[in-house]
């Protein structure tokens, strides 16, 4: 045994070589998707919404890229969000259609396509123009509604002034009803046409912040766990306390303040969808937060049909998490969603090319949806129903 350990044989030599190579800066070559032609492609070369991700990768510092890319904990749900679309197959009609009608009406907002921009945090880190550029890009792409995150890097009023398309607001409730009240009054005054209250992601943790430990060692935020803004939590398990106070009855309070449609984001069970209805909610938003909330949560897609059944058409069901292609949108609509949200796609678009990137990425998704409807033989969104798909969820 001992002899084996210290003798130099072919196997050990290879091991040593591999270890040497692992420590070599050449490894970084592997991570550069453009190493063979070191050129960032032009906006006009983007063919699918996925193409923007690679451009964003080269444009962004690694921790910023990771922040958009990653999911919580083991990222089981992140993988499942994409896998889920493979469990749904389209069964097109024999007769294709030429000019499908993609228009829809959602909570008083007229949509040219059943597509929204999901709320996502801090756009300034992606592009110096920040949220105003995202909004301008969304409006330019057939007036796609933008849902502005509560944690945007530019204040809502300022974003709202940057363009004229439909704009909604997303709230992360605080354990301070006065502050919630003030925020909701303010954004409605500034033109928010609907309010989305996000109630998942109470205590998520991103393991991939590991990247920052070697890319910028000593950077603030490094591998520190998120701690509560209000000091040490009451619980001894190091779970930040800011979002632990949630209770359904709070919606009755918010319902009174919100004059525009009120939406609950993060629903993943039929039971909770029904509770939403009891509290007078105007739409149920099925989402697992792009796999950034509970690890091992189901993909949003696999729970969508049961939630749609529970809601029974009483209010619209909005869907997001994992959509990357037009056909993905068609599948979600076929399973009963009234509209879908895109989170990361807009972020990649913004990071890659600013407002024009957002616009182009959205236009690609819109064109793909149209093509999918043509091929599937759906003349309008009304024709998109469950008969259009076969599902094989595990």
């Amino acid at each position: 045994m001992l002899q084996y350990r210290y003798e130099l044989n072919r196997r050990r030599a290879l091991h040593a070589l591999a270890a040497f190579a692992a420590g070599s800066p050449l490894r970084a070559f592997q991570q550069d998707p453009f190493r063979d032609h070191s050129r960032i492609p032009a906006l006009t070369e983007m063919r699918t919404a996925l193409d923007f991700e690679a451009v964003a990768f080269v444009r962004l510092p690694r921790p910023v890229f990771d922040y958009t890319a990653y999911g919580s904990d083991s990222e089981f749900t992140l993988r499942r969000n994409r896998q889920a679309f493979d469990w749904v197959e389209l069964t097109p009609h024999a007769q294709p259609v030429r000019t499908p009608d993609t228009a829809a009406q959602l909570l008083g907002t007229k949509l040219n396509y059943p597509i929204l921009l999901s709320p996502t945090a801090g756009h300034l880190q992606l592009h110096p123009d920040g949220e105003p550029a995202t909004y301008a890009g969304a409006t330019a792409a057939a007036a796609t509604p933008m849902i502005v995150s509560n944690v945007s890097s530019v204040p809502f009023e300022k974003i709202a002034g940057a363009s004229r398309g439909p704009i909604w607001f997303q709230l992360y409730p605080r354990n301070d009803s006065e502050s919630n009240h003030e925020t909701l009054e303010r954004v409605q005054g500034a033109g928010a046409q609907a309010v989305v209250v996000t109630v998942d992601q109470q205590a998520s943790f991103f393991e991939r912040i590991l990247h920052s430990r070697h890319l910028n060692p000593g950077a603030p935020g490094g591998v520190r766990r998120r701690t509560s803004s209000r000091g040490a939590p009451r619980n001894p398990y190091r779970v930040p306390e800011d979002r632990l106070f949630y209770e359904w009855k709070l919606f009755d309070e918010w319902r009174k303040i919100v004059k525009v449609p009120l939406i609950v984001k993060g629903v993943l069970t039929p039971e909770d969808a029904k509770i939403c209805l009891e509290h007078g909610i105007d739409a149920v938003y099925v989402s697992n937060h792009g796999a950034r909330s509970l690890d091992y949560a189901p993909s949003s897609l696999e729970v969508l049909p049961d939630i749609v059944d529970a809601v029974g058409g009483r209010v619209p069901v909005i869907f997001d998490s994992g959509i990357r292609r037009g056909a993905d949108i068609l599948k979600a609509l076929a399973l009963g969603a009234s509209a879908v949200g895109l989170g990361r796609i807009a972020r990649w678009g913004l990071a890659a090319y600013g407002a024009e990137g957002v616009q182009r990425a959205l236009e690609i998704m819109q064109a793909e949806l149209k093509l999918a409807m043509m091929a599937a033989g759906c003349a309008s969104l009304k024709a998109v129903n469950r008969s259009l798909v076969r599902t094989d969820f595990p």
């Binding site: 190579a21 050449l26 398990y237 779970v239």
Partner: protein, 295 residues
């Protein structure tokens, strides 16, 4: 294709990926990450791989995640969790969290400090430990072997005796009938652990829980490495989970602080998973917390 210097360099750089030599994102090879920086138990595994002889390490390498990957949660919203509480009561002992350091023989194989470091780390993480040789900080005896032997141990023991190694509902029933104080669903038994194709404990737990029907507490071990794994076991009928391998990783790489860190990580993960599935305490967890998948 001609081989250029650049080509060759790229090929070389790709080698470690192919060898999976670098398991931690961004950690230099050979470096031992400071223990406080570990973000999950699997990082402790990678560190153990750096300090242990490959053969020793192979004994405690991680198990398959596939059985856990066939279980997802049904997260419920808006459950006030300000009074989050992971504690459970077991044989008169109040556990800080439903996680117990499981029994392992001869801990000095993995760290010179052996048992002392193990117990110190567990205690620092407010966790009770069951030792293979008896003793430890959890007042029960764990028996694994045939029924005649079990009867003898039970008759001789003042402490509650658990029947360990249950994988079938009828054995669980038999354990209840023979007066076991509890059972441990486990496939870690000589001959069984190496048996190709042996069922994962988490997969057989539901049927066993049905057979026991709450008459005695069920413990379980086998591949638990994340807080979400523990939550799944609780949902399917276990009262607590015995964790061994992840703690051995921590022990091997860091001694007591490693054991403590891995336990605290798993406790935090469990706490966060409970919050985000709407279960502020263990009593709120039930079968409908999870969904079982065929594949």
């Amino acid at each position: 294709m001609s081989i250029t210097r650049r080509n060759a360099a790229q090929w070389l750089a790709a080698l470690p990926g192919a060898c999976a030599a670098q398991q931690l994102i961004g950690e230099a090879p050979g470096r031992i990450t400071p223990v406080a920086e570990l973000v999950n138990s699997y990082e402790a595994e990678a560190m153990a791989g750096r300090v242990l002889h490959p053969e020793r390490f192979a004994e405690i390498a991680a198990g398959s995640r596939a059985p856990f990957d066939r279980i997802t949660f049904r997260p419920r919203l808006m459950a006030n969790s300000l009074d989050l509480d992971l504690s459970v009561e077991l044989f008169g002992v109040k556990l800080f969290a439903p996680i117990i350091a499981g029994p392992v023989a001869d801990l000095s194989r993995f760290h010179a400090g052996g048992e002392a470091e193990w117990l110190k780390g567990a205690e620092a993480a407010k966790t009770h430990a069951l030792l293979a040789a008896g003793g430890g900080t959890f007042p029960v005896a764990c028996y694994s072997g045939d029924w005649a032997g079990f009867d003898k141990v039970r008759a001789a023991s003042k402490a509650p005796v658990l029947m360990k190694g249950i994988l079938r509902a009828e054995d669980a029933k038999a354990a209840v009938e023979r007066g076991a104080s509890g059972i441990v669903v486990s496939n870690y038994r000589s001959g069984v652990a190496e048996l190709p194709g042996v069922a994962a404990t988490i997969s057989v737990l539901p049927a066993i829980a049905d057979a026991v029907g709450g008459r005695i507490p069920i413990l379980i071990d086998g591949g638990f490495a994340r807080g979400t794994d523990v939550l799944k076991a609780l949902a399917l009928g276990a009262r607590a989970v015995l964790v061994v391998r992840p703690l051995l990783w921590g022990l091997a790489a860091y001694g007591a602080p490693g054991v403590q860190q891995v336990l605290e990580l798993m406790q935090s993960e469990l706490a966060r998973a409970m919050v985000m599935s709407g279960k502020p305490n263990v009593a709120a967890i039930g079968r409908d917390t999870v969904r079982l998948h065929k594949r």
